[in-house]
């Protein structure tokens, strides 16, 4: 291991999975400990770096689901299976699955926000004994933006899945409407002990947590994943700091009791 | 009353519209003076004039309403101002020895203004010392930076302060403030290349906006002071026009030399029939051709390699005649 944490390592692209025209998953060679919700800095010398959440973890690889929004991610999309990418990481605290085990669990995810929780969803999907009922509310802008459609087929068999798009024609495969609109009628055995994870764009997280609290969830049973400009990933460069927290170091996953104060 | 109007004009008095009354004109080279001279002006205005005082376009004062017969007394009172401002004069208590070469005017310059690239007052005083007294009709003005608040292009010689921005890459924090300032406030000589500004020397007018904008002193001013010398602007009746660029990145010594050389050129070529012995230099150059002027003006002038000369020069303006 290089002691210089700024120097990235080369990792081979094992597979490229195309979800939408601007969202691909890159399966990258990686041997080491990593948790869902953590992220890697994908480094494109000459273009810079982009923080990308781990969307899947397997033997000898990690999945990085990348949305093409800037110059770095644009360059990453020029790469193919067999090419290599420079990576640094994993960074951030990630989701500790044990935090959510034992009771009812609701996961609310919006857009690429599904990536960081994908590992959590799959974990509990594959381990029904670790929870007492599970609901996934996943929202995308439109049908064209839906990620991980294969996963949803599996998840639908494992848990209560509400897949929804903000705009679209009615369809039996999914709902139409914002994720928040499905929170009030959530059927729960004991909302006071139920746990929730919210990941997505800032506005979506704000409204979703408000709806969860309204539904009766306790603040201490909600976790959120903050999104900020992350540059070094090491708690040095300052860009992701909110109050006394560095999202890249202390987060991106925060208990709502902490996260609610990280306003900007 | 018998008054030699030619003599009084040379003595910086004026024939006014009021019979038997004159006005005294006080030069203030560089337009900056110690406040202690104001009581003297006040006294002259109140004791000899009509109690008023005009601030002239050329940054001097004009005290109207003075009886012709009081000129000697007024001259005596002006002595402290003339010597105090270190104006060249020939005869003690004789007032100003000439009026043809006008007061050298200047913007407030770097004694006050953050934009100014040099001490305009000091340079104006230096030029005054070199050219005055002289009866030839020369108008010289100085301005601290390319903003040209002093409107020097309306003068025979316009001197615009410049600095050659020096870039220290290691101090650059790549914030882009210089590029933004140059683009929005100046000529767009800076562009971002590899996160850092790159300067197009051709486009750069040495205004110093980048230096002022830089938050980390990556841009600083050159040790050398540079100027742009503009030539032969004029107002007036026949062909008013703005002065055109003559030398960019010129040094102070060369400017003084060119001005002094021009006096010799004008003495040689001025229309001997010119009414009142007064002819704008520009009309003389129009007559002799620019080449002849250039030959005279550049005698003994050694410009640095950086200096960029415009030659031949062309002027436009409004042509009434």
């Amino acid at each position: 291991m290089n002691e210089n944490v700024y120097v990235p390592f080369l990792s081979k692209i094992q597979k490229v999975i195309r979800h939408t025209s601007i969202e691909y998953t890159f399966r990258m060679e990686y041997h080491g400990n990593v948790k869902p919700g953590q992220f890697f800095e994908v480094s494109m010398p000459k273009y810079g770096e982009a923080p990308i959440s781990v969307s899947g973890i397997g033997e000898g690889y990690v999945d990085l689901t990348i949305r093409r929004v800037g110059k770095v991610t644009h360059e990453i999309f020029e790469k193919y299976e067999g090419n290599s990418l420079f990576l640094r990481g994993p960074y951030g605290n990630g989701f500790e699955v044990s935090d959510y085990a034992g009771g009812e669990l609701v996961i609310v995810a919006g857009g690429t926000g599904v990536s960081p929780v994908r590992g959590v969803i799959s974990h509990f999907g594959n381990h029904p004994e670790e929870h007492d009922g599970m609901t996934l509310i996943a929202g995308f802008k439109s049908d064209d933006d839906i990620l991980f459609s294969m996963d949803f087929e599996t998840w639908k068999k494992q848990m209560n899945v509400i897949l929804t798009v903000d705009k679209g024609e009615p369809s039996p495969d999914r709902q139409v409407g914002l994720v928040t609109s499905f929170i009030p009628q959530l059927e729960l055995k004991d909302v006071a002990s139920a746990k929730a994870i919210v990941v997505g764009p800032p506005a979506m997280m704000r409204f979703s947590t408000a709806a969860l609290l309204e539904r009766g969830f306790r603040e201490e049973n909600i976790w959120i994943s903050q999104e900020r400009k992350m540059c070094c990933g090491l708690g040095k460069c300052g860009h992701c700091r909110i109050n006394d927290k560095y999202v890249c170091l202390d987060g991106p996953v925060f208990p709502y009791t902490v996260g609610k104060n990280l306003l900007d | 009353m018998d008054i030699n109007t030619k003599k009084l004009k040379k003595n910086a008095f004026r024939v006014t519209k009021v019979r038997n009354k004159t006005a005294s004109r006080i030069r203030v080279p560089g337009g900056h003076l110690e406040a202690k001279y104001l009581p003297v002006l006040q006294h002259i205005a109140e004791a000899y004039g009509d109690g008023t005082l005009h601030i002239t376009n050329r940054q001097g004062f004009e005290i109207p309403g003075i009886d012709f017969e009081k000129m000697v007394e007024v001259n005596a009172l002006l002595e402290s101002i003339i010597t105090g401002m270190d104006i060249n004069r020939e005869e003690e208590n004789g007032g100003y020895p000439a009026a043809g070469t006008r007061n050298i005017s200047a913007c407030v310059g770097n004694r006050v203004c953050p934009y100014a690239c040099y001490d305009t007052t000091a340079f104006a005083q230096r030029i005054e010392k070199a050219v005055f007294p002289n009866d030839l009709h020369f108008k010289i003005a100085l301005t601290g930076c390319s903003n040209d608040c002093a409107k020097v292009r309306m003068h025979d010689f316009g001197i615009i302060g410049m600095t050659e921005p020096q870039f220290e890459p290691d101090r650059c924090v790549t914030c882009g403030a210089c590029v933004k300032a140059c683009t929005k406030k100046s000529t767009g000589a800076l562009t971002m290349v590899n996160f850092r500004p790159q300067r197009d020397a051709q486009k750069c007018i040495g205004c110093g906006e980048c230096v002022l904008a830089c938050p980390n002193m990556a841009w600083t001013r050159s040790k050398e002071k540079y100027y742009r010398l503009t030539l032969l602007g004029r107002s007036g009746k026949k062909n008013p026009r703005l002065g055109e660029n003559f030398v960019k990145w010129i040094d102070a010594d060369s400017i003084v030399q060119i001005i002094l050389n021009t006096y010799e050129y004008v003495e040689k070529y001025i229309d001997p029939e010119a009414p009142g012995g007064k002819e704008h230099i520009g009309y003389i150059v129009d007559r002799t051709g620019f080449e002849e002027f250039y030959k005279w003006a550049m005698k003994g002038v050694h410009l640095s390699e950086k200096a960029e000369i415009t030659s031949p020069m062309y002027w436009s303006g409004i042509r009434y005649k």
Binding site: V5, K46, K236, C237, R241 | A177, T220
Partner: protein, 338 residues
């Protein structure tokens, strides 16, 4: 042990020290001020004690030796990375007590919080500090209120009184040299400030609703977001990483980190075009609260060391200390409005 030197004695010590260290201190850069015919006092390499400016505050701090303005992290080709080399020679940095306290803040961020920053560490290991005695505060200083007016955590100290230099030296290997060159050996206490003209009243609570305080609105219009306050600050540590390539084929280049300012546009941009804290008043809040509240929450002491440089440099005459002094009242107001 302390020593008193004449100028000559100082010179002979200096020439020995220079063999070992590059020596940096506040010095005068003639004609290098922002405005024409003005000088700038800032840090630079000095070759004699006489070059050191004792009676003026350096406009910029000493942090540049540990955290260069622009630092190359590594060089790259398409598939290879070569770590940049570190400066070879050791450094001796002259600085006042406030700035020495600032180094502690840099250490906190770069060595103590999370990962160890190897680029910072390799420079940090090469630096020795000479505390410059500071007998009298400048107008904008408020070190006493920040508890940074005094420091014993130095390697050497220096005070200049008339033509004599008084030095303390805690580095054993130099004691012989110092003793040989000194006019006499005596106890030396570096001077320190005990009273400042400017005072600050630090907040004792920080309601979350301070976000909404009217205190910040004023800066929306006044602040021009130039970042000078950050760049002169001895405790600002932010940077941005940049990849630059050597032109032509564009295949080789370097990654560097460059000082960043939370006041300047672009700092809080996120991929996809969004940006946090668009208003300048919001940036002011982010900066000010970090300096006097957020950092303290994490590390137990305020980030700001009270050097007053941000007040000195602001072209819009925005005073940080004035803003800090408005915090208590603003906190009370937002709490009452809740």
């Amino acid at each position: 042990m302390g020593y008193c030197f004449t100028e000559d004695g100082m010179m002979s010590v200096w020439s020995e020290l220079e063999k070992r260290y590059d020596i940096y201190a506040p010095k005068r850069f003639a004609g290098k001020g922002r405005f024409s015919d003005t000088d700038c006092v800032r840090y630079g390499q000095v070759h004699s004690a006489t070059e050191i400016v004792f009676d003026k505050k350096a406009e910029y701090s000493a942090k540049e030796f540990l955290l260069p303005n622009a630092e190359t992290l590594f060089y790259f080709t398409e598939d290879q990375i070569l770590e940049s080399a570190c400066k070879e020679k050791e450094m001796l940095v002259f600085l006042r007590s406030c700035d020495l306290h600032a180094i502690k803040r840099l250490d906190a961020v770069y060595l103590e919080q999370g990962f160890i920053d190897s680029y910072y560490k390799r420079l940090r290991d090469k630096v020795k500090f000479v505390l410059m005695g500071c007998p009298k505060a400048f107008d904008t200083c408020f070190c006493v209120d920040m508890g940074t007016n005094k420091s014993t955590d130095y390697d050497m100290s220096i005070d200049k009184v008339n033509d004599k230099y008084y030095m303390d030296c805690k580095i054993e290997e130099w004691t012989e040299l110092f003793a040989q060159s000194a006019e006499r050996v005596q106890d030396v206490q570096p001077a320190y400030v005990t009273e400042t003209k400017t005072h600050v009243n630090l907040p004792v609570q920080m309601p979350n609703t301070m976000l909404q305080s009217d205190l910040w609105r004023e800066y929306d219009g006044r602040c021009i977001a130039c970042g000078r306050c950050n760049f002169v600050c001895p405790t600002c540590t932010c940077f941005t990483m940049q990849d630059m390539y050597y032109t032509e084929n564009g295949k080789a280049g370097e990654r560097r980190r460059v000082w960043a300012s939370c006041m300047v546009d672009g700092y809080a941009d996120v991929a996809g075009g969004g940006t946090y804290r668009k208003k300048h008043g919001e940036r002011m809040r982010y900066k000010v609260l970090h300096k006097v509240w957020d950092f303290q929450k994490k590390h137990g002491y305020p980030m700001c060391v009270g050097c007053g440089r941000c007040d000195d440099i602001c072209p819009e005459y925005i005073s940080f200390s004035h803003c800090v002094n408005g915090l208590k009242k603003a906190c009370k107001e937002v709490m009452e409005n809740e």
